[in-house]
């Protein structure tokens, strides 16, 4: 495994890591863990509400990534977003399975304290990018994304709570995501 331990990964390095994962290469697994376990665990903690559940989720994400590794296509998106999509989907599936589970407390992403690590530079860069992308959103758009992505509220639930048309919520959600996407595009590696 010749992938660097720090700094943003190039597309070919991401591919190399995923190939290592597919082959069950322990170095590749550890490299991926070092870079991405923390944001995955954090997302699990926020969505599932307990450290135990977040630990299980983190393990499940890496196992799922190993199973899906052959389908990872670096030309379609970053490794980080691929892993985080897996994490979010698994967490949401788990929430759906566990009926009666209280929805997680909403997290105001623009008010959380800054914590800088030294061994997960990649995720710090991702965080910096995400925070910058959030700056492109209005407060209303931020709140909308937070309620849907972290709070698990459907567009219909948001529309009913806020007393606005369902179509308006969907349009705003799409607009917010497109703004984030555009803000992220400049940061993607070649």
């Amino acid at each position: 495994m010749h992938t660097r331990a720090d700094g943003p990964l190039l597309v070919r390095e991401e591919q190399q890591l995923v190939e290592g994962l597919l082959a069950g290469n322990e170095d590749a697994v550890r490299m991926l863990y070092t870079r991405y376990a923390r944001p995955i665990f954090t997302l699990g903690l926020r969505l599932l509400g307990s450290a135990e559940a977040a630990e299980e989720l983190t393990q499940d994400v890496f196992l799922a990534a190993w199973r899906k590794a052959a389908r990872f296509d670096p030309t379609r998106g970053r490794l980080s977003t691929w892993l985080m999509t897996i994490a979010h989907n698994l967490a949401v599936d788990r929430l759906r399975r566990e009926t009666g589970v209280t929805r997680p407390t909403l997290v105001l992403v623009d008010e959380v304290p800054e914590v800088v690590g030294t061994d997960e530079e990649e995720s710090m860069i991702e965080r910096d990018t995400a925070l910058r992308a959030l700056e492109s959103l209005s407060d209303a758009e931020k709140r909308l994304l937070v309620r849907a992505y972290f709070g698990g509220l459907t567009a219909r639930e948001i529309a009913e709570t806020d007393g606005i048309p369902l179509g308006t919520v969907k349009t705003r959600l799409r607009t917010a995501l497109i703004k984030v996407r555009r803000a992220n595009q400049d940061k993607e590696p070649m």
Partner: protein, 259 residues
């Protein structure tokens, strides 16, 4: 669902709040619609990047070892089943890519409602590869040696009677390990309960017939996989047939064992 309906749901898919029913319907559409898939990827990437905005929480010590152990246990030690499967899957990928399997032609025999998907030949190849891998992941350990030169592919086409469906066949014909066949079908009519079970057979030029599996259920796309291991040499058993419960021959193909 058409593209308009799907695109309206993509933002909710991206943030993971679609109902399971809508999610299934959207994902089915995305399998063949490149335009909607592109938008879904973009919105999904945006939503996923959003997760990084959270202030990082401290990760419990020991979690790394749990993660490594789980992947290691699942993947097995060097020389294990998984390693072999990975290598075989890579071989299949290469073979599918370069052998001119003609997946588009296979799919073209499906009914009209599948016609659009038939044009997505490249995607279908990916699906075929994924299906091969799924089957391989559950296959018995066949030995430590990767049978690089002993794997052969064939395609299944619908018969003139049914005109729907298609499939692919992988055979391992090896002098050192037990031979096996994997047959993947797709595009059969999942609503035709009377057609189940389907029987899959291999036969040779002398008319000897081997049972290669029974399909007792189809997925929503009319697809299924069967794996069968044989205690005899599969050399010459190149004709593959899939017959429904009514005795009708629905798919037929030939494995090229010379490749």
């Amino acid at each position: 669902m058409n593209c308009l309906q799907v695109r309206e749901l993509l933002p909710e898919l991206a943030v993971g709040v679609l109902s399971p029913e809508d999610q299934r319907a959207v994902e089915q559409h995305l399998q063949w619609c490149a335009g909607c898939r592109k938008e879904a990827n973009e919105l999904g990437s945006a939503a996923a990047s959003f997760a990084f905005a959270l202030a990082p929480a401290p990760v419990p010590s020991g979690l790394a070892e749990h993660v490594v152990a789980r992947v290691r246990n699942a993947s097995g030690a060097p020389g294990s089943r998984r390693r072999m499967h990975t290598a075989v899957a890579s071989i299949i990928a290469a073979m599918v890519a370069v052998s001119g399997l003609g997946w588009g032609a296979v799919m073209a025999g499906r009914a009209d409602r599948f016609a659009e998907r038939a044009r997505q030949a490249q995607l279908s190849k990916e699906l075929a590869l994924e299906q091969f891998q799924k089957v391989l992941a559950g296959a018995p350990v066949l030995g430590d040696q990767v049978p690089t030169s002993d794997t052969h592919l064939g395609q299944l086409a619908p018969t003139s009677g049914t005109r729907i469906g298609g499939g692919a066949v992988l055979q391992l014909v090896s002098p050192t390990t037990l031979d096996f066949s994997i047959v993947i079908v797709n595009g059969l009519d999942p609503t035709d309960a009377g057609a189940l079970p389907y029987h899959v057979t291999l036969s040779n030029a002398a008319g000897a017939v081997l049972r290669a599996g029974v399909i007792t259920a189809l997925d929503n796309d009319g697809g299924a996989n069967v794996f069968h291991q044989f205690n005899l040499d599969l050399t010459g058993y190149t004709t593959v047939e899939v017959t429904n419960a009514r005795g009708e021959l629905v798919l037929r193909g030939t494995v090229d064992q010379t490749s």
